[in-house]
């Protein structure tokens, strides 16, 4: 079989009429024409491969960019921000010379196709983003959404995803400290597997993805490059490029956490010895992304010899090598005199490391293969100057009808007995039930710094053993609220995560997000997206918590059916001394329960409306971000000054859900009294935002009340921690044993 001639730059210039498979690679006609215009000739096969992956929605954010700009434009003044949007992850100052980097990403589509590896490599990818900033990863979180809990396919997807996250994260030695698990039929064909990671470093250790200094070497290290994870690989392996290739490659990557653990340790050791000028991990779009971004962000150009890339499969074509998404690889830029030491450290950890190129004083990215130049591009046109779309968007015509379908008009329980039955049904429902079966498959203890982990309101990690400085992270999102009103829904997600950080005693500092939506080609979805981004940007401005980075996942859609718009918001907080953290569990009998905030009749999108009536309609709860800020200040002060011993945020499921969780975790019951002016149903099940319950030791009651009074935060005494039951006086009483049975058996019985 004769090989087609190598498609060099020269060959491309000489053969302008060769047809390239740009459409199969996912480029639109005008995008391809733009590539030709940029290059002044047709691209080579390798150049086409690079442009097609880098200009994909996933890498270029071409549909979302015009909206995401608001996060920068509306960014609040915040001295803590050290590195903002655009790098691998944002970095914030947490004091005492420490900087923290964190980010949430999606791995939705691969996790549906192959749950274990899809989820595992999602963890791997976000962890490499964090290492690439110069930080030691210290914890992971996983916000997850699946189809209906009782759907047969959920039994395939969920256990695989959970095992994959555990299998990878546990083996890396990263404690898993939080996240969410939500079930809804809208995620049936499109589960959302988001993964977040926190890393810690000293200020002076921050590293950026930047190739500078002509003559500096480009080192590829980590796993060998294989044929896994090539997007659109079936096309690449088709006859157009070379007909002597093996065909179809799997599009889902396969993870090797052991290799990643070695990569973490050897990278951190190289950082510690100041051997690294710039660094980039290889994630989506693999070497195409790493080389073009490093070169584009730096001051010079870059020359790469692709023949030097260590391969798992010697038959890979240069196009495939450029597009491969083989996991556990990183790319470092190192000064020539430090290369030997860098390679020594890699050898110590048994990590393969190879010099594949160098930084040049030009401004081109040039890639060679078998002596021929197969790529000669301005790296900025690949990495940063991709297409930008102003996709049409329009408020869907069904939105009014949805909002008019008021959940407040749903039949409410008519007797105490019925209320009791509904409460029991609620706490046993898949979304409100204990997720212990899932959480116990993750290591919470490794690294020995975990102060709080799920089911606490936020995860908390100690970062300094001497001073007790710590960080907290909470992730929240409610697709039902966002479906009813995307602007408010995004703000509710922000408010909840912000509140969850504050209930543990930490001060909210910065935000990352993972925006999960349907197809941007549907104007209704695009409207949801635009509204959610606007809501989140406005909310962050008002709360003074900047968005430091994040991720957009579009096309979460099967046929015409899009998922609920699901902005997942992560809020990072800082606490001066983790000894002052506030847990969810009731600590001591006799302590007084206070409800902070205002309770209104708000049931739109509520857990009650879903569990009891299978209903979604009306308006989501109102957002008052000034109130959220005040509530957070009170919770933080009360924690710092020892006025409260436990606190729990109120969100889906309302007050009764929170009380039941605190009671079961503490093994102590509660006696509740319905406050004046509220009916029992609204008191227990409304989902008004801006609320929390706290347990106040009797000795602190006066001081606590004075503080709330002086600051103008409504604080209502609603009961006392007591006994072996949760009792709502004059209504019903449920024993802890009965509640535990209801709350803790649902998930295991559905999934095992």
């Amino acid at each position: 079989m004769s090989r087609t001639p190598l498609d060099t730059v020269e060959h491309a210039a000489a053969t302008p009429d060769v047809e390239l498979p740009w459409a199969e690679l996912g480029l639109k006609k005008d995008e391809y024409e733009r590539v030709v215009e940029i290059l002044g000739r047709r691209p080579t096969g390798a150049e086409l491969a690079m442009y097609s992956v880098m200009w994909s929605e996933h890498c270029s954010y071409k549909s979302s960019k015009v909206h995401l700009r608001q996060f920068g434009e509306k960014a609040p003044e915040n001295d803590a921000m050290l590195v903002g949007i655009g790098e691998n992850a944002g970095v914030v100052d947490v004091g005492q010379g420490y900087a923290v980097t964190f980010k949430v990403e999606s791995h939705n589509h691969p996790s549906y196709v192959e749950p274990y590896q899809g989820a595992a490599t999602g963890v791997g990818g976000i962890v490499r983003d964090i290492i690439a900033m110069g930080a030691r990863p210290v914890a992971v979180v996983d916000p997850l959404r699946f189809g209906a809990a009782d759907h047969p396919d959920t039994k395939r997807v969920l256990p695989g995803v959970v095992a994959g996250i555990g299998g990878y994260g546990n083996c890396l030695g990263l404690p898993n400290i939080g996240g969410e698990v939500v079930f809804d039929a809208c995620y049936q064909g499109n589960p959302l597997v988001n993964a977040g990671c926190i890393g810690v470093m000293r200020h002076e250790d921050i590293h950026l993805a930047k190739a500078s200094g002509a003559g500096n070497k480009v080192i590829l290290y980590g796993a060998r490059t294989g044929g896994d994870g090539i997007g659109g690989a079936s096309i690449l392996a088709s006859e157009t490029f070379d007909d002597a290739k093996p065909s179809k490659r799997p599009a889902v990557q396969v993870g090797d956490p052991f290799q990643e653990k070695l990569l973490i340790e050897c990278t951190l050791e190289a950082f510690a010895e100041k051997l690294v000028v710039g660094i980039q991990d290889l994630g989506a779009a693999g070497l195409s992304c790493a080389t073009s971004e490093l070169a584009s962000n730096g001051s010079g150009g870059m020359r790469v010899t692709l023949d030097d890339v260590p391969l798992r499969d010697s038959t890979l074509s240069p196009e495939e090598i450029l597009m491969s998404e083989s996991q556990e690889r990183m790319c470092a830029v190192v000064e020539p005199e430090k290369v030997d030491r860098f390679l020594e450290i890699c050898a110590k950890w048994d990590v393969i490391a190879t010099v594949i190129g160098e930084v040049t004083d030009g401004d081109r990215l040039e890639i060679y293969w078998h002596g021929g130049k197969i790529v000669d591009v301005d790296p900025r046109t690949v990495a940063h100057e991709g297409p930008v779309y102003e996709r049409p968007y329009a408020r869907p015509d069904w939105q009014d009808a949805l909002q008019a379908d008021d959940a407040g008009k749903l039949p409410r329980p008519r007797s105490a007995e019925e209320l009791k039955a509904q409460v029991l049904k609620l706490v046993a429902s898949p979304n409100q039930a204990s997720k212990k079966w899932i959480a116990q498959q993750y290591d919470h203890f490794v690294q020995g710094n975990t102060v709080l982990a799920m089911p606490e309101d936020s995860g908390m990690i100690r970062i300094d053993e001497e001073t007790g400085l710590g960080v907290a992270l909470a992730t929240d999102g409610n697709g039902r609220y966002a479906k009813l009103d995307p602007y408010t829904g995004a703000q509710l997600a922000l408010a909840e995560a912000y509140r969850n950080v504050a209930t543990t005693g930490a001060k909210p500092l910065a935000v990352s997000d993972c925006l999960n939506f349907g197809s941007p080609e549907d104007p209704a979805v695009m409207w949801q997206f635009a509204e959610a981004v606007r809501g989140l940007a406005d909310g962050c401005l008002q709360l003074g918590t900047p968005v430091t980075g994040g991720n957009v996942s579009l096309y979460n859609q099967t046929g015409e059916a899009a998922i609920h718009p699901t902005p997942v918001v992560a809020v990072l907080g800082v606490i001066d001394d983790v000894a002052r953290r506030t847990p969810v569990a009731f600590q001591e009998e006799g302590q007084l329960l206070y409800l902070l905030g205002d309770t209104r009749e708000e049931f739109g999108g509520s857990a009650w409306s879903q569990v009891v009536h299978d209903h979604l309609g009306g308006l989501p709860p109102k957002v008052d971000l000034e109130r959220e800020r005040l509530l957070a200040e009170i919770l933080i002060s009360a924690s710092r000054d020892g006025m409260i011993d436990s606190a729990h945020d109120l969100s889906d499921g309302g007050l009764i859900q929170a009380v039941v969780e605190s009671a079961l975790l503490g093994g102590k019951g509660a006696r509740l009294v319905v406050p004046d002016g509220l009916d029992a149903f609204t008191f227990l099940l409304s989902e008004s935002a801006g609320r929390a319950i706290v347990a106040v030791p009797r000795s602190e009651e006066v001081r606590f009340n004075d503080m709330c009074g002086a600051r103008g935060l409504p604080a209502t005494r609603i009961g006392v921690v007591d006994g072996e039951t949760v009792e709502v006086q004059g209504e019903f009483e449920l024993s802890l044993a009965e509640l535990r049975e209801a709350h803790e058996t649902t998930i295991p019985s559905l999934l095992t």
Partner: protein, 226 residues
């Protein structure tokens, strides 16, 4: 004078730094040992920490057992050097035949992370002297391959000789035979267990208990008074 206690780092070790911290909290001096290095740096005792050495892709502990450092550890353990294997370290000790039996995958086939209740069955080993026999303690457990197995003869012998050091109480989390959580060799200098005492050494961290600290104070007292 304090004792120097070595902690081996294999590729894929995860709890090595945590173990060093626990040793420090107990008042001893932790010494980092490297798997490729035969030299034990004249330490007075060695801990093989938890993790997934070499990814545990073959059989947990099966490759680490052949590392250069283990050659020396095996030799010196037979001569009386105190050695503690935690989780993956326990697996390495059985693979190295310093302790009998073997570890299989958990019977429920899932990774499990929980605060585990144990009963101290032998408070006379180098690593358990600060406990009392029959004492009930909580130590975090987290593993994929924690199901201890051995033939009936070996199990009977372990029981008869008082070499079952720890037993799971309330819940057997992985299907271990006779609820065995940890064992010791005949001389009492080599102890292995699946739960992680290094994760139960500070009141605020993890489960908030310090039930694991006596492992490290036991060995310190023994070494300092020896």
């Amino acid at each position: 004078m304090t004792a120097r206690i070595g902690v081996v780092t294999f590729p894929g070790s995860l709890d090595d730094r945590d173990t060093q911290r626990a040793i420090r909290l107990a008042g001893a001096e932790p010494v980092a040992l490297w798997h490729k290095d035969k030299d034990l740096k004249q330490v007075d005792a060695v801990v093989l920490p938890g993790g997934f050495s070499y990814g545990d892709y073959l059989r947990a502990g099966a490759i680490s057992r052949f590392s250069p450092v283990m050659g020396t550890v095996i030799e010196q353990a037979k001569a009386g050097l105190p050695v503690l294997g935690i989780c993956n370290g326990f697996q390495v000790l059985t693979e190295a035949h310093l302790l009998p039996g073997a570890m299989l995958g958990n019977d429920h086939l899932h990774f499990i992370c929980r605060d585990q209740k144990l009963r101290v069955e032998n408070a006379e080993t180098a690593w358990t002297a600060d406990y009392s026999e029959g004492q009930e303690i909580f130590i975090p457990l987290k593993n994929m391959d924690g199901r201890y197995v051995a033939d009936e003869y070996t199990l009977d012998k372990l029981e008869a000789e008082g070499r079952v050091a720890f037993r799971y109480l309330d819940v057997n989390p992985n299907g271990s035979l006779r609820d065995i959580a940890g064992i010791t060799n005949e001389a009492g200098n080599v102890v292995g267990l699946m739960p992680h005492p290094e994760h139960a050494t500070e009141p605020l961290i993890g489960t908030g208990r310090t039930d694991g600290l006596p492992f490290f104070t036991s060995i310190l007292k023994k070494l300092v008074t020896a």
